[in-house]
């Protein structure tokens, strides 16, 4: 299977804490992306990291990619209640244009 696996499945933290989510995949990839999905809404693109990059930052987000281990992590620093959502990694197997999504992490940030 080419699907991605994420852990943890669910994460509950307090506002101000950092949240780390991990993603593993099985194929060679061109790039890996992270998306956020608020309940009942569509997916919002957060950040893309290419296969030749190891780390990328965007605001409070930090993404790492280890192609030798076929894994990626998303770190959200100084979390806010508004960060409560499901987070998915998504990647393109080989040269495909389609995205293969991970199983997702449900993040709950409480006040």
């Amino acid at each position: 299977s080419q699907q991605g696996e994420e852990d943890p499945q669910a994460l509950s933290i307090q506002e101000g804490e950092n949240a780390t989510m991990n993603c593993s995949y099985k194929t060679s990839i061109n790039n890996l992306q992270w998306y956020r999905q608020n309940s009942g809404r569509g997916l919002v693109h957060l950040i893309l990291i290419r296969s030749n990059e190891r780390e990328k930052h965007s605001g409070r987000l930090r993404v790492t990619l280890d192609t030798s281990k076929k894994s990626s992590s998303l770190l959200i620093t100084a979390s806010r209640a508004a960060d409560t959502a499901s987070y998915f990694c998504a990647f393109r197997p080989g040269t495909a244009s389609k995205l293969t999504f991970g199983t997702g992490t449900r993040l709950q940030v409480t006040l």
Partner: protein, 113 residues
Amino acid sequence: EPEVTQTPSHQVTQMGQEVILRCVPISNHLYFYWYRQILGQKVEFLVSFYNNEISEKSEIFDDQFSVERPDGSNFTLKIRSTKLEDSAMYFCASSEEGQVAQHFGDGTRLSIL
């Protein structure tokens, strides 16, 4: 900021009926996609469309499914004879190129009775 729009937001249909889900991708994008998400499960790829033809499709996208770009702005997904297991959220997405970020609509919730 330009966005992908989908209509309707919720569609209720009797089993065996045809349904058409509509999407307006971002205007300068060239690649279009449909994905679905069964309740509580992960997002699954259905089909990608480029240059007026299907470029890739999954095993889910069988003969009951078809896509069309009838004019310069709309991108539709048709399910010919719906089944109970077609109940899901259907997301349309578009991208400028094939290897960059995809932008998603808010989805159509399809309920088959």
